[in-house]
């Protein structure tokens, strides 16, 4: 019997008081694709980072091809034939593709010969596995799909036999993701072992041979993919039965609350991010904006939220909003009945070092009910308000004096949501409402958004998760390269059609789809920054 390509025995790891991995054991056979699935914070990335020598395990052993191997640092992991493609790429933005591949794997102290050899090798690898890249392009000038291929090439250039991919499809269009999985199949056919970390059940079902499920730092099961079902995996992940579908009535839209006409946004570097888009959101409906991250959705939310400049027309409840003048800031937007759950709660929605009660007033700290006098804030009133909000939104632990950073992702999001929803806005902007949130909280958050809609509020939902958009939105608009490629009704569309729109393709091309996708992305991908 062949030895497993990788065997982990009893791996444990704690970060301060947080136990990220508890006594984890796993065997992966060579030439297979092994999936690791789990909710956010289940410890998947930590486990793989230990395997790659990025962190040191507190306890446990690692066997590579049957041999006990110490992996104190990434150098050791690379020597042991392990390559890793991180969720956030580890590339030097202003270096070329070639320089990034060579970095750390140079042949000698002089650069020239190393670069020359790498150029040849890169060409050979590209042909062997279908990993096309431009060696002399700067990373900052190429799209995320190609950046990911550079990461894979980096691993292959270092002779990796085991390839770990952490949430690899998060930034890809569905067509690009399909292409990635074809590349993985080819790597597997060449005898490479692949570990795929994801929270997407569909990817596990489509791409893997075996799958391990993690929950709260523990490995709860390892099964053959063919012998399981998405429902079973979801239950193993969460530890109870889960509803994968959101229950909601058909929308009864009223008058338009938000009207956007020919909106354009130019960023600090002079690049146009939003290129003249127009749409409406009516009272009592959810408009979902789908699209791969970095196609102008963030800038759209920022302009609507009042902290990015734009040109064009935005009308809320029949009155135009000032987009450039002195009244274009978050305060005036809130005064106009716009509430905003931002895409990145840790960077924008919360001050992580502020206590929960201080965060409850955040953005609304000018509200009369929070003032004691003209000069002083009424901290007591804010705390009381927080206690009540925490109870209604089931925030745990219900301690208003705890810093935001000490709450879990789901509870942080509930704090933001409670603050924004309870202000009773006419228009709610929501960006990535369930990113980094556990399944239990996802259900709760979705229910809150739907019930706000049912109260007759207008909701603009931006999400990169197609499933989320399809289950929540009453109408779907797809953004690509700063433009809206089309609007669809969820009942009359499917993931494949939306996937093509997300790559900027509005009608079926006469060449292979992936070629059309690549062409479009290469065109639009330059200089993109994903938050």
């Amino acid at each position: 019997m062949t030895a497993p390509a990788i065997e982990l025995k009893g791996i444990s790891k704690a970060f301060g008081p947080v136990q990220a991995n508890k006594d984890i054991s796993i065997r992966v056979m060579p030439g297979t694709i092994h999936g690791i699935i789990g909710e956010n914070g289940a410890g998947k990335s930590t486990l793989m980072s230990i395997l790659f020598g990025f962190y040191k395990a507190d306890k446990g052993e690692i066997y590579i091809s049957g041999n006990l191997t110490a992996i104190p640092d990434s150098q050791a992991a690379i020597s042991a034939g392990i390559g890793m493609v991180f969720q956030h790429f580890k590339l030097v933005e202003n270096f070329t593709v070639l320089e990034n591949v060579v970095l750390g794997a140079e042949d000698s102290a002089m650069l020239k010969p190393s670069l020359a050899r790498a150029r040849k090798e890169l060409k050979a690898l590209a042909e062997e596995y279908g990993l096309n890249v431009e060696p002399d392009a700067l990373i900052q000038d190429i799209g995320v799909g190609m950046q990911q291929r550079v990461e894979i090439l980096k691993a292959l250039y270092r002779k990796a036999e085991i390839l770990i991919l952490d949430e690899p499809t998060g930034v890809l269009t569905p067509a690009e993701a399909d292409q990635l999985f074809r590349i993985l199949e080819r790597l597997k056919a060449e005898g490479k072992t692949i570990i795929l970390i994801t929270h997407k059940l569909r990817e596990i079902m489509d791409a893997t041979d075996t799958v391990s499920v993690m929950r709260r730092g523990e490995m709860t099961a390892t099964v053959k993919t063919a012998e399981t079902s998405p429902q079973e995996l979801a239950e193993l992940m969460v530890g109870r039965k889960v509803l994968l579908q959101v229950d909601k009535e058909v929308a009864t839209p009223g008058a338009n609350v938000l009207e956007v006409k020919d909106l354009r946004v130019v960023d600090d570097k002079g690049v146009e991010r939003v290129k003249g888009i127009s749409f409406n959101v009516a009272a009592g409906e959810i408009l979902g904006i789908a699209g791969v991250a970095g196609n102008g959705q963030s800038e759209l939310l920022e302009v609507l939220g009042g902290y990015e400049n734009g040109t064009g027309t935005i009308i809320v409840n029949g009155t135009e909003i000032d987009l450039t003048g002195a009244h274009s800031d978050g305060q005036s937007r809130r005064d106009r009945g716009i509430a905003h759950v931002p895409e990145d709660r840790q960077r924008e929605g919360l001050i992580m070092d502020y206590a929960a009660w201080e965060n409850t007033a955040f953005g609304y700290h000018h509200d009369d009910k929070y003032q004691r006098s003209r000069l002083f804030m009424d901290n007591g009133a804010i705390q009381q308000d927080t206690v009540e909000k925490m109870e209604r939104f089931d925030v745990r632990p219900p301690n208003p004096k705890l810093s935001a950073k000490n709450f879990s992702g789901g509870n942080q999001q509930k704090i933001v949501l409670a603050r924004e929803i309870e202000r009773n806005p006419d228009l709610l902007l929501v960006g990535q409402p369930t990113r980094g949130v556990d399944i239990g909280a996802i259900e709760f958050i979705h229910q809150q958004i739907v019930s706000l809609r049912d109260q007759g509020k207008a909701i603009l939902l931006v999400s990169v998760e197609l499933e989320e958009i399809l289950s929540l939105a009453d109408r779907v608009a797809v953004m690509f390269d700063g433009k809206i490629m089309g609007e669809r009704l969820p009942s009359e569309t499917n993931e494949q059609e939306l996937g093509l729109l997300m790559a900027g393709i509005t009608e079926m091309p006469d060449k292979p789809i992936i070629e059309a996708v690549e062409e479009n992305l290469a065109h639009a991908g330059a200089g993109k920054e994903v938050h």
């Binding site: 990335s45 991180f86 590339l91 030097v92 202003n94 970095l103 750390g104």
Partner: protein
């Protein structure tokens, strides 16, 4: 203004630009690796004192230079500990180092020499003396080139020539060697270096070390070449000016040379108010001339001469992401 006077001004420009250039390149290595170093000033000052003290006691300027580099390196180690090992605030560490140098140099100077915080005058072999380049005298009579060669190019101390050579050397290291590639990478995205199996800590210490050596040479130049001995606070803000020059040069070696020559020129002008009066035919206030480099620094930082993008990971300690 006649040709010879112009040459004299340019000659002092070169002399005054030298410590700025060395400090600027020191900062370049450090900041390209992602470590901000506001402590260039303190390292130069410490090096100036130790080089002056050891050169005086031993009578050997080369020993002085070594001691100066040693003092600067010691402070570099502190900065490395604070900003690399203990992931502290790089700005505060730099500020602390500047005060440490300002205080210790005087305390020790007073304890050793009891001359009010200075070293005794250096003479002869305890100083770097001008180096006459070959044929300087022979060429002197050739028009234009002769005086330029004899007055401007020849007749500086060895450190001036070392500083000049450091510019192409820095360029070569940065863009043609493996070390340079890794150094630039660690200042842009240390995680890329770390996951490529290269030690971020090792690279950054190396960069901080090189910074220490160059600051050491710069400081030794102040006390043993530009002047004849150490006096209190003799670095006089040069470390900060070098930082401004570095920003002006957008962290590139050749531009660092041009930027520091510009500052050197301003300092040279400040030494010759009589000349300015003759050229402009009105009196320019001496204080204004003295602060001209500081004002130019502010103007440069205000970005009125083009926007500079610093190394992306600069100033932030490297913490592995969870």
């Amino acid at each position: 203004m006649d040709f010879l006077t112009l040459l004299q001004i340019l000659d002092s420009t070169v002399r005054l630009a030298t410590p700025l250039l060395l400090a600027c390149l020191a900062g370049l290595f450090s900041e390209r690796a992602g470590i901000f170093d506001i402590g260039l000033e303190g390292k130069m000052l410490a090096a100036a004192f130790m080089s002056g003290a050891v050169a005086y006691v031993s009578g050997n300027v080369w020993l002085g230079l070594l001691a100066g580099i040693g003092a600067s390196m010691a402070l570099s180690v502190i900065h490395g500990l604070a900003s690399i090992t203990f992931k502290g605030n790089q700005l505060i560490s730099g500020v602390a180092i500047n005060f440490l140098a300002a205080g210790l140099t005087v305390v020790i100077a007073q304890s050793w020499f009891a001359q009010g915080g200075r070293t005794p005058q250096l003479t002869g072999g305890a100083r770097f003396n001008p180096v006459e380049l070959p044929f300087a005298e022979a060429f002197r009579d050739i028009p234009i080139f002769g005086p330029i060669y004899a007055e401007l190019i020849s007749g500086h101390t060895i450190i001036v020539y070392i500083a000049a050579l450091t510019v192409p050397l820095t360029w070569w290291i940065l863009y043609r060697t493996r070390f340079g590639l890794r150094l630039r990478a660690v200042g842009e995205n240390p995680a890329a270096v770390d996951t490529a199996g290269v030690s971020v800590v090792g690279l950054r210490y190396a960069a901080v070390g090189i910074c220490g050596i160059l600051c050491g040479i710069a400081g030794a130049y102040l006390a043993t070449a530009l002047q004849a001995g150490f006096v209190k606070d003799m670095s006089a803000g040069r470390g900060y000016i070098a930082l401004a020059a570095l920003i002006f040069a957008k962290w590139r070696p050749w531009y660092a040379l041009y930027a520091t020559l510009l500052f050197g020129f301003l300092q040279a002008l400040a030494l010759r108010p009589d000349l300015i009066e003759r050229v402009l035919s009105f009196k320019v206030n001496g204080q204004l001339l003295d602060v001209l480099p500081y004002i130019l620094t502010v103007i440069i930082l205000a970005g009125f001469v083009g926007k500079a993008i610093p190394p992306r990971a600069g100033g932030e300690p490297y913490v592995k992401e969870r």
